[in-house]
Amino acid sequence: MLDTESKIVNFEYAPSIEAIDIVRIEPKNKLFIGGKFVEPTSKKYFASINPATGEPLAQIADANAKDVDLAVKAARKAYNTVWSKMSGKERGRYLFRIARMIQERARELAVLETLDNGKPIKESRDIDIPLVAAHFFYYAGWADKLEYAVPGRAIQPLGVVGQIIPWNFPLLMAAWKIAPALACGNTVVIKPAETTSLSCLLLAQILQEAGLPDGVVNVVTGAGETGAAIVSHPDINKIAFTGSTDVGRLIQKSIAHTDKRLTLELGGKSAHIVYEDAAIEQAVEGVINGIYFNQGHVCCAGSRLLLEESISDLFVGKLKSRMEKLRVGNPLDKNTDIGAINSATEFGKIKKLIDSGIEEGGEFFEPSIELPKKGFFQKPCFFNKVSSAFSLSRVEVFGPVLTISTFRTTQEAIMKANDTQYGLAAGVWSEKGSKIHKTAAALKAGVVWANTYNKFDPSSPFGGFNESGFGREGGRHGLFPYLSIK
């Protein structure tokens, strides 16, 4: 036997904080219209805060209908005089250049994203920003190959597109919107979410430095009213929206009597099925990644865990001990797994839904980890043994809250998974190939992650069925919403 006594060492990770001096945040951030940063005609500004500290980061211009009109005019002019006339080859060159410049300024963008959004630096550094660059690279190459996009058909751009994006992946969503639109020859008026405008404005600066012709991309910052002004603007040919189903519905209604084209990427309540023959350890990791990635602020979050009853106790036990190891805290700390909830509003909404879950009687679990004292932080948690009638099983929480219920057969798993008005994503775990194919085919969802979860790639089409919206982003399919077939 060994002769030294075993003793438990205290193995702590000291704070490892990403330096923020790489980022210079303007105290006052103007609108980006016609290739220039301009004062809003409204003269109004609002504050954007760092959700991890609650402290203000910067003032952001509040664009009114007049500003939006100026942006649309600039976009129209750029469309008519430059962008629609430019060869695909040349448009592609701009996009390639932009992609490279994003890579060159990756760290700066990542830090800014984390400061403004609250997501862990690990994620903005390793996931968001690399995907932003990859997205521009992918669509850059399409610009001079559009004749292959819809074989046998002549295509043309739509004109000016209005794009409204959410706060959960601020720059990534901007890339998902801008890159295919420009590749197809459209010009853009884009509105970032009011709580996360900064990275989109830095992107505008990059576009300016890349020499993108004036007015091809215009950034108007503001809240719902700014968005409404875009949606209702008569000279916009298409609206692309990513956000909540409620707002998506409003948009669909409000442009019903126009010829505006529309794509919507909305909410979800995605099911995550784990069969008894799954690779259990990897499934646990997949479930963790599925719901707690980006604080659960993910439209395709695997928020409904469906466990085969024979493994449910084992699985829940493993999930609990895994959750004890999650590190919630300062988003700038490289060891942080879960960062800050983006805003007071979202924080309040999540708390309220957790309360409702407790009231409805699910078995609540949260790990005994510590949270920072300041800022909007939420422990990852789950409700076990929920019924599908619980509001928590049906409503999108958009936070780190998982529901767990069990099933007995493949048929039941599929039925329960599809028991939702949404249809964005789903996950399934089994080491049996034929069962994976059967389940993946039967799931009513636009994206199915089999034996993995929350994977994204610019070449992979993403988008929903049913009330999760319509249209695809990514891949060749992601071009269709920005082209009209002659």
Partner: protein, 319 residues
């Protein structure tokens, strides 16, 4: 779930079960630990810890008494104490730990025993016709007994991969049981030689067999086959250890061996142990590195942390 049936020593049929492993998922999870950032005081204590977990190893046909004696000296005092003393005082750091054990061939055990007398450093001997294991069981038993009788405190055996890969799990199990018996109180590490097994599924199954058969530690590799230890293969084994502990309450140790050359790698392993099995596994009792080059890199990094200055190998002995 893979289930095999084994007859144990008492003649009872027991089921050994192994979860399937998704290779890509396991690799992804392992990669996660390469992103952990351990700095400042945490880094220094991690380096100390890693050093104390090293099995300083020489397993060459060219090993001689002289070579083993030199290595044992290094095991005792990784750096000359007077070289580092001033810095330790300045930083209020504890003394540099000695390594956990040395690891040698059976024939070198008497040399190591003599060299390390009174040091408290373990003497691990490989056995069972290391590294191939291609010898009759009685030869393997003799090999083991020789090492134990000459003072080895730990035995690193290899599993019978020939039997394992041909599906004779009973033979694999029986051999481990027999070697364990030959070890008596001597600590038994079971080398799976994961680089020859072909899949994580098999690594998981071999881990289960080794623990069920009485191994005190499971160990990745002989160091003679590529790939040797990797983060994902170690993760798969750690998870098997965790599940075994849940089932039986018995804590099995883990030893990745081969291919771990840098402090950075070692710290990634420690983070993985910390977040997979918990800090109670972060002791030389339950976790070891089978390595030789790693020791000097740990020392270099310790010096760097203590002095703020980068060192080169020449400062440290090459043994």
């Amino acid at each position: 779930m893979r289930t095999i049936s084994i007859q144990n020593e008492d003649g009872n049929q027991i089921a050994i079960q192994a979860f399937p492993i998704d290779e890509v998922g396991a690799n992804e999870r392992a990669d996660f630990f390469t992103k952990r950032s351990v700095k400042k005081d945490s880094k220094l204590s991690a380096l100390y810890l890693a050093l104390s977990m090293c099995d300083l190893t020489t397993l060459e046909g060219s090993d001689t008494p002289g070579r083993v004696q030199q290595m044992c000296a290094k095991a005792r005092f990784p750096v000359p104490p007077d070289l580092i003393e001033p810095y330790l005082i300045k930083r209020k750091a504890g003394p540099i730990p000695s390594v956990a054990a040395v690891c040698v061939y059976p024939s070198m055990v008497p040399i190591a025993v003599a060299s390390l007398k009174g040091s408290g450093i373990g003497i691990a001997s490989v056995s069972t016709a290391f590294p191939s294991g291609q010898a009759p069981l009685n030869v393997k038993l003799d090999d083991t007994r020789f090492a134990v009788e000459n003072g080895a405190t730990e035995i690193d055996m290899v599993i019978n991969r020939s039997a394992f890969l041909s599906g004779d799990y009973q033979q694999v199990f029986n051999e481990i049981v027999a070697i364990k018996k030959a070890c008596g109180d001597t600590h038994l590490k079971v080398i799976l030689e994961t680089g020859e097994l072909g899949s994580y599924d098999r690594v998981r199954l071999a881990s289960e067999i080794a623990m069920e058969a009485g191994g005190d530690f499971i160990k990745t590799s002989t160091g003679k086959i590529n790939p040797a230890a990797t983060l994902p293969v170690t993760l798969v084994m750690l998870q098997a250890i965790g599940d075994y502990y849940q089932r039986t309450g018995k804590k099995i140790g883990m030893k990745p061996a081969g291919g771990i050359r840098t402090s950075k790698q070692a710290i990634q392993y420690l983070c993985m142990v910390n977040e997979t099995l918990g800090p109670e596994w972060l002791t030389p009792h339950l976790f070891r590195f089978g390595a030789s080059a790693l020791v000097n890199d740990l020392l270099k990094q310790i010096f760097k942390e203590l002095t703020g200055q980068y060192y080169y190998d020449k400062v440290f002995s090459i043994d």
